[in-house]
């Protein structure tokens, strides 16, 4: 799903001003996925997450927005990997067309190997991230308090309380409930309506603004 970074940023900032930390984190995290070098989105997301941490009783230190200098969005990262592989392919073809061992052939060989390795690393990392996101999409708790309780086929488990703005990952879904995971571990089942997937946030912007 595509979205406009400014629309998402504005929705997140309004939510932050209204004290709706869940919505603020969800919109701002989505805005940063599209435009990770925007300093205002990084700052407001840092504020929202610091308030979430403070609400959990954790020590709220000074806000340190994430670095924005060389940050790439996922789309840009994919293009970077593709360009690296393209450069590697050009250099490899030039190397192949030089039948004799010449200095130019050695240069072409070096130019082919370095971007090829970098491209493969970036593609691997992005593929793992994409597969992880598809299997367990990232979501944000938007309900003020959300109870992650025992699942339908699980043994006894103590319920876990989640607060607005906490980031989790989702697993299987059954009816109105969805499995909630923290740190790669399922912690229980919660109502779907209390959670927004970050990739779905553009769907909520109009709904949020109309409220």
């Amino acid at each position: 799903m595509t979205g406009d970074a400014s629309v998402l940023y504005n929705a997140g900032t309004v939510a932050l001003q209204q004290g709706k930390l869940g919505e603020a984190v969800a919109f701002l995290a989505a805005a940063r996925r599209i435009d990770p070098r925007a300093e205002d989105a990084a700052r407001n997301l840092g504020l929202a997450e610091a308030r979430v941490a403070s609400g959990r009783g954790e020590e709220a230190g000074p806000v340190r927005p994430p670095a924005t200098g060389l940050a790439l969005s996922i789309g840009e990262a994919w293009w970077l990997a593709a360009i690296l592989l393209f450069l590697a392919a050009i250099a490899r073809a030039a190397w192949a067309l030089r039948p004799r061992k010449t200095p130019q052939r050695a240069v072409a060989r070096a130019i082919a190997i370095v971007p090829a390795a970098a491209g493969v690393v970036v593609v691997t990392w992005l593929t793992i991230a994409a597969l992880g996101e598809n299997a367990h999409p990232e979501a944000v708790v938007v309900a003020p308090l959300l109870e992650a309780r025992r699942g339908p086929d699980e043994p006894n488990r103590s319920p876990v309380l989640l607060r607005a703005g906490e980031r989790v990952r989702l697993g299987r879904a059954t009816g109105a409930d969805v499995e909630v995971r923290l740190g790669g571990t399922p912690i229980g089942w919660a109502a779907r309506e209390g959670l927004w997937r970050i990739s779905d946030t553009p769907r909520y912007t109009e709904q949020f603004e109309s409220r």
Binding site: A5, G55, W95
Partner: protein
């Protein structure tokens, strides 16, 4: 006016006034705090031999700052040396407690039955006294292994191995008390003594102890001690036992197997190594049993008693006293001290209103490294208020049995009032976290993009296309390198180069072309028939080619061409070309020879293919 006066007072006078005020404030508190006082004395064994070292441990405790000095009683026939001291302070629920542990080494100088008198201490109005302790001392070497040895033959378990008066190996089981209450921990020490070489460290088999729950305290401890006239290396395993039923119970025997190295032959004087013959032998040893009298807890346990036995304290706290509707308030109860914390149970935590509550954390941590088992048991309960107002956490009560004082004790926390105000919990977070205002809204349209982590079609097409090109180029290079390593292809390539060289030479139309082509013919023959003709005469080259399969016709043609080319090379220039260079006439005899030679070379190259 008062403020003016104090500001005029010299700094030294203000300091003295502050000290006096502090003294007035703190001294009564300390005096009140110098409450409960206790002293305990324990020996590491009740029987010993003359000259053997016995360890005495004296523990003083006070629920205040003041802790009196004491002197270890002097007993004729026993030499006492103070070895070590340690101190401990703790501040729990606003109450200060202090304890000191002092270790003495007692060495008997004469056999007999001794009684170490009580140690009496006093602090303020509090007094405490330890129980007298009996110590039986035998003749030198006689009392080393507590029971009489039962043989010592290999394979027959007994507490002693070797000479009865000065055994090489023996084992002991000591317990710090023989009468305990149900669930009161007792400490057992399994000690292995050796003064012979072992092949490997002795391994204890943990003793059977039906009716007890047990915990190992730390790693095995190694020490050198003197028993009688001999010095031994000891390995001691310390365990805590918690009786889970009453009556007469038994601990032990502990079993250990030691593999000693036994010399069976003297060194061979004629051997350059001079090593004695040594054989490993397994010696099983078993300790005596320890009989323990486990008493039931006294009747009349207070309400809320859940089986905690030991010396415990309770700490209760909440994470906030002001909360918003829907915001959880977490109450933490911590039980600390010595005793059966794992089985002690948690005190009940209740609120004055019917609130949703969740158990959000907890656990027991136990310190097993010292000579006592101590730790803390923590439980966290979250209450979620749903309406504004206030509620209170009711006083939390912990009841336990103190086996030292032989009575039930209770500690009750204060009630804690929590105020609930309306509004989202996030408002509170916004109010508490001072981090500056958020960045303002944007007026311009921002970049648009996908929120999934999947690649775009363009990027993936470019990446895949590049990968295909890369792979194709790699395969092409690989196949070309394979081809270059094929000898047949290499020969063909070499012959092609010769044909090209001959063609270039002929195209120049100068006199040297014939001599250059004449030199190429034997080389081409050698390459064609895989013979080394480098540096050889024409006839030798032809003979080698013949030997490698060249037909007589080919050999004759080569010879004829070379002769003709050489004649051409040494003929006067005017007889060959009308003019040098590009003006040379076409279709002359010389041109015919050069063309024939080039065709011959080309034919050889095609034959290799």
């Amino acid at each position: 006016m008062t403020g003016d006066r104090s500001s005029l007072r010299p700094p030294r006078a203000r300091l003295v006034a502050a000290v006096v005020l502090w003294a007035f404030a703190i001294v009564p508190a300390v005096a009140c705090a110098a409450g409960r006082l206790s002293v305990e004395v324990a020996l590491d064994r009740s029987q010993a031999a003359v000259g053997e070292d016995i360890q005495a441990t004296v523990v003083l405790r006070s629920d205040g700052l003041e802790l009196p000095q004491f002197a270890f009683p002097t007993v004729a026939g026993l030499t006492t040396v103070r070895i070590a001291d340690s101190q401990n302070f703790s501040w729990i629920n606003g109450r200060l407690s202090r304890s000191t542990t002092t270790i003495f080494r007692i060495t008997p100088t004469a056999p007999g039955r001794y009684t170490i008198p009580s140690i009496r201490i006093a602090a303020g109005t509090e007094r405490a006294e330890s129980a007298p302790i009996a110590l039986e001392v035998g003749a030198p070497g006689s009392a080393s292994p507590p029971p009489a040895a039962g043989g010592g033959a290999p394979g027959t378990p007994s507490p002693v191995w070797g000479d009865q008066s000065a055994p090489d190996l023996f084992v002991r089981l000591n317990v710090d008390r023989r009468r305990v209450f149900w669930n009161q921990p007792l400490i057992a020490r399994y000690t292995f003594y050796t003064r012979v070489r072992l092949e490997q460290e002795a391994l204890w088999e943990i003793a059977e102890a039906p009716g007890f729950w047990r915990e190992i305290l730390g790693e095995p401890r190694h020490q050198r001690v003197r028993v009688g006239a001999h010095e031994y290396l000891t390995t001691q395993v310390v365990m805590a036992y918690f009786p889970t039923r009453t009556g007469r119970l038994t601990i032990g025997p502990g079993k250990v197997e030691a593999r000693i190295l036994k010399r069976i032959n003297a060194p061979d004087p004629w051997s350059i190594l001079g090593m004695p013959d040594v054989r490993a032998e397994t010696i099983p040893l078993t300790t005596d049993r320890a009989s323990i009298d486990v008493r039931p807890l006294p009747s009349g346990a207070p309400q809320g008693f859940r089986g905690a036995v030991g010396r415990l304290s309770l700490d209760v706290r909440v994470d906030r006293k002001l909360a918003h509707v829907g915001e959880p308030v977490t109450v933490t109860t911590v039980i600390r001290g010595e005793g059966n914390l794992a089985a002690a149970g948690d005190p009940e935590v209740r609120a004055t209103l019917p609130l949703r509550s969740y158990e959000v954390g907890g656990g027991t941590t136990t310190d097993r490294l010292g000579d006592r088992i101590r730790g803390e048991r923590r439980r966290e309960v979250a209450f979620v208020p749903e309406v504004p107002g206030s509620f209170a956490i009711e006083p939390v009560r912990l009841t336990w049995f103190d086996p030292v004082e032989e009575r039930y004790r209770s500690q009750i926390s204060d009630s804690i009032r929590v105020t609930i105000v309306p509004g989202d919990s996030t408002d509170r977070a916004g109010g508490f976290v001072a981090m500056g205002p958020p960045a303002s809204l944007r007026s311009r349209k921002g970049p648009s993009g996908t929120l999934t982590l999947d690649p775009s079609v363009g990027a993936i097409s470019l990446a895949v296309g590049s990968g295909v090109v890369f792979l194709a180029a790699s395969l092409w290079v690989a196949s070309r390198e394979d081809a270059s390593r094929d000898p047949r292809r290499r020969r063909k390539a070499a012959l092609k180069r010769i044909v090209l060289a001959a063609r270039e030479a002929r195209a120049k139309h100068d006199a040297s072309a014939a001599s250059r082509i004449a030199a190429l013919v034997p080389e081409a023959l050698g390459i064609r028939y895989d013979a080394d003709t480098d540096g050889r005469s024409l006839e030798d080259a032809i003979a080698l080619a013949r030997a490698r399969g060249a037909t007589p016709e080919v050999a004759e043609e080569a010879r004829r061409l070379v002769v003709a080319l050489e004649q051409l090379a040494y003929a006067p220039a005017s007889s060959i070309y009308e003019a040098p260079g590009k003006d040379a006439p076409r279709g002359t005899a010389s041109d015919h020879v050069l063309v024939s030679a080039e065709r011959f070379l080309d034919r050889l190259a095609r034959e290799v293919a």
